[in-house]
Amino acid sequence: MDRSNQDLLPLFSVNNLTIAFPGIGEVVRDISFAIGRGETVGVVGESGSGKSMLARAAMRLLPSQATVVRGRIMFEGQSLFDLGARQMRSVRGAGIGMVFQEPMTSLNPALTIGAQIEEGLRAHGRMDDQAGGQRILDMLERVRIADPRRCLRQYPHEFSGGMRQRIMLASVLLMEPKLLIADEPTTALDAVIQREVLEIMGEITRDLGVAVMLISHDLGVVGAYTERLVVMQKGELVEKGNTRDILLRPRHPYTQTLIGSLPSRQKSSSGAQAGAFAPGAPLLEVENLRVVFTRKGSLPFTPATTTDALKGVSLTIRAGETVAVVGESGSGKTTLGRSILRLVDRSGGVIRIAGQDIQSLSENALRHLRRETQIVFQDPYSSLDPRRRIHEIVAEGLRGDPEVHRRDYRSRAAAVLEEVDLPASFLDRFPHQLSGGQRQRVCIARALIMRPTLVIADEPVSALDITVQAKILELMKRLQRQHGFAYLFISHDLGVVEQVADRVLVMQAGRVVEEGVRDAIFDHPHHPYTRLLLQAVPDLHEVEPGAYEIRRRHYNDEPAAPPGMRFDWQNAAGPATLIDVGDQHRVSCVPLMSVVSG
């Protein structure tokens, strides 16, 4: 095949690919699409739609039980399924490179970064020359690793998730593949880091002319970084085409729902946008809360390590209000939620629920209080006891209530399930027989049956598909309207927060750095961290009904700190000083003086 001819053919094409598992059936059905040289193609679809199987098929790394029923995958004019094992190995890495989803497990913890990078190069005979070593250093520099030489001698665990993903990227791109397959490369990272990794990836692949197949369930991500789009649903390809075109004119109903499910700002539901000013006793008051975790040395005599998870956080929630807490991973959001229920012991500060200091409560009173305040955990998979039936789980809280008779448990559970739109037939199921969204509903039902006044929702939708996520959010709002309870809504997903919150707290490293009503925060963020956070998420703008466009948030104005102050941007040990910049919008600042003197 001469060169010109090759140029005409797409670099990579999938033809009528069908993959099946015995006992499960076809998980990828009749999929065809092509990727040209240097082209970036996104693959989106709900969880379980077969995206990963597709990627693995391209590497011929399908699980051993999976069979390719029909179809083929062509790469540079060769059918991959016809290659011998040795030929296939030369395609892997050198022809097609792959970056995996989970940065924590995609590097071998037992080998140094250097060894892992070199090993790939050596397998393709690219490590022989002197230049090899230098190329590695150059590439690491390009992915913005600060000290590449040192990095080579280090082990994966010495790097954060984002760094690992960049190292992965470097190691894959060093082999100069023609095609890079990235299977959800940033799903596990928080927004700021996600953006950094994707930017670098885009930049280098563009420079090297590497084609990219970017797999994600996040339409925003794929939309922002790819030229063409493939949409999958339940193993089938439902739509493909130019990214912009699809966003503007989604044809397939599934694509339409997908886009429609994207969170967007709506008119504040509870009208509590003004609620911040509404009088009435606060439901929850947190003052200067501090939590220090002491991890005992793994042995006696070893010094204990302490983590200041919360360094003096204050907040107030009134009845019927939704207060969102956002912030980077590890900033203490979850800890805040847990300490309100005294699931975590505070080290300082006061928590008052309905005026009562929860620390002074007796065991019994605390149990009563916990019933008033319910928590919905982040992970729908680990927050349900796998060995209990749904009705037992939902009704569990009633056991503490002497007024409810045992035989009424079931009917009460059924009633609550109905409220969260689950049929009574689910009562006798086990959690594993439910989907993620259904489980999350069960979690909500479990909280709801207690008729709480305050619900702490710790990332209640982060583990869910975007379509399911939309449904849950809708449900939560509806329940709030019906029962009037207040939410403490914890999330790192700004889109979601923008949709539901009345007020927003931005946290960083155990401190609140900015606080205010939703519109103020999203429209006029003051603190640099808030701005960074907001700019990291690609935003989908409704250009006209049903038609969207991806836009980067961008803030032109650079708000100045109050006179004599600057924004507090350091991880100080103490609480932040919040300075009012108007309309209950408060930002953490430090006097300029202190920098001079300190």
Binding site: L343, F377, E396
Partner: protein
């Protein structure tokens, strides 16, 4: 051969061996061709031939009857030891892992100490105290197995503690003991089943080794392990006195181990996803 196992459903092969032992045990309890403990001096050292299917020993006892009875005694002795260890070990392990603190430290200390002593020898020492009775044997084995169970349960509980459903239970205002009984222990069942089967295998072997070292069950409780170890003295005159008990033990253990593997595959969620 392998085809055969496959077509049998490899999955069902181990359990079916076990079931057949259980059936034998039940038969043995109800009926044996001869009195398993009756001496018959006129029929000593008889090689396998009807009516003595597996021959007789040096005192003219019918080995087949003893094997039949031995099925239930072996299973009962090893089973009770394992169940005892499971009960004590999981209770201690659950409490220790859930509350941590000083009860945990003390329990760990004692369990570590027991674990540090070689099992068979500890069992031997305990049995010299209790005497070679069935209860003593069961007790001795239970004590040596307890730390194994304890460790498994404790580590399971430690990982369960991190699970949000345990926090959820506390958030609902449940008492600690309720949480342990209602959420923690049921979730230890899976690892315990796996540990239990493997311990059962060790129990059969330990019991036989103890008999070999001179401290086993009394003679009217002919476990297979004891029969095997008794038979070795008349090995050359009556090889059948060791061959059949040996085969019986191997058969039982094969069933137990296969079942254990199968259970592990079934119960381990990580492996489960890939069946």
């Amino acid at each position: 051969m392998i085809r055969l196992f496959r077509s049998l459903g490899w999955i069902g092969f181990g359990p079916s061996l076990l079931v057949s032992v259980v059936i034998l045990a039940i038969v043995g309890l109800v009926w044996t061709p001869f009195d398993p403990n009756a001496l018959d001096f006129a029929h000593r050292y008889l090689p396998p031939a009807l009516p003595y299917v597996t021959g007789t020993d040096h005192l003219g006892r019918d080995l087949f009857s003893r094997l039949l009875l031995g099925a239930s005694t072996s299973a009962a002795v090893s089973g009770s030891a394992v169940i005892g260890a499971l009960l004590i070990g999981s209770l201690l392990g659950a409490i220790s892992g859930y509350f941590m603190g000083w009860p945990d430290r003390i329990a760990m200390l004692v369990m570590d100490a027991i674990l540090a002593m070689p099992g068979i020898l500890l069992a031997l020492a305990i049995m010299t105290v209790t005497g070679p009775s069935v209860a003593g044997l069961i007790g001795a084995m239970a004590v040596t197995f307890t730390p194994v169970v304890f460790r498994v349960v404790r580590s399971t509980v430690l990982s369960l503690r991190e699970k949000e459903f345990i926090e959820a239970s506390r958030a609902l205002g449940n008492r600690d003991f309720f949480t342990i009984a209602y959420h923690i222990l049921p979730n230890c069942v899976a690892p315990l089943t796996v540990v239990g089967t493997s311990l059962f295998g060790s129990a059969v072997l330990t019991e036989s080794a103890l008999s070999f070292l001179g401290l086993g069950v009394p003679p009217h409780v002919p476990t297979w392990g004891a029969m095997l170890s008794d038979g070795r003295n008349i090995f050359s005159q009556a090889p059948w006195a060791v061959i059949y008990p040996g085969l019986a033990i191997s058969y039982l253990l094969l069933g137990v181990n296969l079942t254990g593997d199968r259970l592990r595959d079934l119960l381990d969620p990580r492996v489960k996803g890939h069946i």
